[in-house]
Point group: none
């Protein structure tokens, strides 16, 4: 089955809201193994909605409309469905009673237009709205299935999960659902990752591989059609083992979690404590770690040593490292090393990371933007430092530095 | 001019990401007076991208493609444009040198596929990418204009604003440009703001007001058509003065900058130094302040005191506040006050903010998630504390706490 989502609403065309419904429905469809090749957004205009339905029903056999079920004269989705399928709109009695009760209970007079929300195309299956007044609809016409859902996510989502999804599944008797595993990688870029897997991607048949990148993270979705999760895992096991063998030093999770969460879990499993000393990243590393619920069990805290004075007074970095003739300066391997070691000692943690560099846009200490030193101190091995150079704006340099710090930490803890 | 946005990417069809680019571009187009009747999303498939281009160019005279400019063989947008317009793809020399330099500087070998990002359709106007490697393109073919933009928002947005938008405006000779001022507000929600301006919004004619919210920020865009900026400012001056009068205590900038930037500017103008002590926000406040270029002149640093031990040892919070019978605990007004005062004293700064609370999802010290205390210490007035309670998940509680801290700081500094 091939689906197309048709989102109706001028507010989408004006950029007043983001089409998060499309994302929700796309995920749901992928989960039940319904393919999706196109999505359309169209404004609150009857002719153009019909035009969108015409195109969608030529290239899909399931058309899901969202939005345009409100009480105002701008809400035209059901009128368009009626026009396109040549059906009348009739009142759904349960929905109409619900609307009448809603206004009665509130003691507010019900406007004529409110009854519009109870309209459905004749001969359809109504989809109840447990969180609002607009009833949805599901119908078949000319070999194509149509589903009509309200726009507000808190109405659309339960309506889809409770009523529309079972309706779709009932139309797919031979259905074999798609099962997926998301593999998350760090310390490797999207193209390098693809190079390492190119033969698997090119040779894919039953088990499919889809690399993707986003928010500075690289992932591969491995999918297969199977009757249940257990059968799916059996079918995927060879491919997964192969990927683990090739990319084990980068594969930090076999589920869709961020790197910081993998690090917090590792620390927790081993009962280890972490701390940090940050200069150029300005708190971003600590913020990422503490974004993980329960991180307080593994994270002592951090010193955000933004000025040299703070580094000297609160981290105990020797002044001779920072200034004076021949001093390496704040942006140096020596300072990164000392910051990490002092943070570890001060907090009594097992690991401490440090970040010092020039995030940009201007050079700092005569060092060009994008140069970052990372220090990693531990009670179990000599302090390590990493010198890194990136292009990009201030925020992307900071993000990359933090991701790299998390990556070296993840690798080190993994060997404990 | 009528535009259609064609977003390319299987990750959109699978619901892995939300199409925020469509929102960004839709707003931009609305701003320059370009209408938009449809948006399309299509996967990484050459035939289907061409199919989407075919339909779009029948119903629009400006087709904006986003995404699919990466280095992998899944990235097919330029190939589709080339196929549809019957042009060859050639290398854009500046873009190619940029890619080569990028790999040379990193000491990483450049894969053959990376050069693909420098390809452009022959005879087009290349659109430089200031934040990435994939060059964009603008061209006219058969009376329809095409613009090709990269998928990552941090590349797409500056490319559109700096290069694509002027290119589009140059195609609209009779165009009276729209001039806008963005007013940014803090400490007030979108509906409360709208209520305060409802008569202006309802009565708008030549000067239009569009309130919008996003990323926890509330803004009003005031716009007018005018031949130049000076004429526009003259036409808007009455409305702007009225808004300033009504909402002055919330209006922190008359340009589109985040609140932290307004705070850094205030501190800089007055030669004041800031520091922080963070518990539940875990570095997010320091991260926001240091995201502003040049913040090192006004920000000493911060203590991320995530555990009680850190609070005692490195901030000097008395143990009796944190534990023992009848102790107020870490999440309390007294602790917030002490954290702020100690951070200020330790760093010798003029102001210090503190954050302590239960970010969630679980209660902390028996205090429900969403409860946050903020402390503000200064060398010029007695320490103030704020008790706040929010609904929402961990990250949104942390963001709201930081925004509220920035807001109280902004108001205080403004009175200095």
């Amino acid at each position: 089955m091939k689906a197309e989502i048709v989102a109706v609403g001028t507010e989408l065309l004006l950029g007043q809201i983001v089409n998060t419904n499309a994302r929700f429905l796309a995920r749901q469809l992928a989960e039940i193994g319904v393919d999706s090749y196109f999505q359309t957004v169209v404004g609150d205009n009857l002719d153009r909605i019909v035009q969108a339905l015409t195109i969608a029903s030529q290239r899909a056999d399931l058309v899901i409309c969202t939005g345009g079920l409100g009480p105002t004269r701008d809400d035209l989705t059901k009128d368009a469905i009626a026009a396109w399928t040549g059906r009348r709109l009739i009142y759904d009695e349960p929905a109409l009673s619900r609307i009448e009760r809603f206004f009665r209970e509130r003691g507010v007079p019900m406007a004529e237009s409110n009854a519009r929300q109870a309209l459905i195309p004749e001969g359809c299956d109504p989809l109840p709205n447990d969180n609002g007044l607009a009833v949805g609809a599901a119908l078949e016409h000319g070999g194509v299935r149509y589903i009509v859902l309200p726009g507000p996510p808190k109405e659309l989502e339960p309506m889809f999960v409770r009523y529309a999804r079972p309706w779709i599944l009932a139309q797919m008797p031979q259905h074999t659902p798609l099962h997926s595993v998301v593999l998350k990688f760090a310390g490797i870029g999207e193209s390098a990752l693809e190079q390492k897997l190119i033969d698997l991607i090119d040779g894919q048949s039953e088990v499919t591989l889809a690399p993707y990148a986003g928010d500075g993270e690289v992932a591969v979705r491995v999918s297969v059609k199977a009757s249940d999760q257990e059968q799916a895992m059996r079918k995927m096991s060879g491919t997964l083992a192969d990927i683990r063998r090739r990319l084990g030093e980068h594969l930090y999770a076999e589920e869709d979690i961020p790197l910081e969460e993998a690090v917090v879990r590792q620390l927790k499993a081993r009962g280890l404590l972490l701390s940090a000393a940050e200069s150029c990243t300005g708190g971003l590393f600590a913020e990422r770690i503490t974004s993980v619920p329960g991180s307080s069990a593994v994270f002592a805290g951090a010193m955000i040593a933004y000025t040299n004075e703070f580094k000297i007074r609160h981290l105990g970095v020797p002044e001779r490292l920072l200034s004076g003739d021949g001093a390496p300066g704040a942006i140096s391997e020596e300072t990164a090393r000392t910051m990490a070691e002092r943070a570890r000692e001060l907090t009594g943690s097992h690991f401490a990371l440090s970040f010092t560099g020039a995030a940009g846009p201007d050079p700092s200490e005569g060092k060009g933007p994008g140069l970052v030193y990372i220090g990693l101190a531990s009670d179990r091995f000599p302090t390590e430092t990493y010198r890194l150079q990136w292009n990009g704006d201030r925020q992307s340099v900071r993000l990359r530095a933090v991701r790299h710090g998390l990556y070296v930490l993840w690798r080190k803890i993994g060997r404990e």
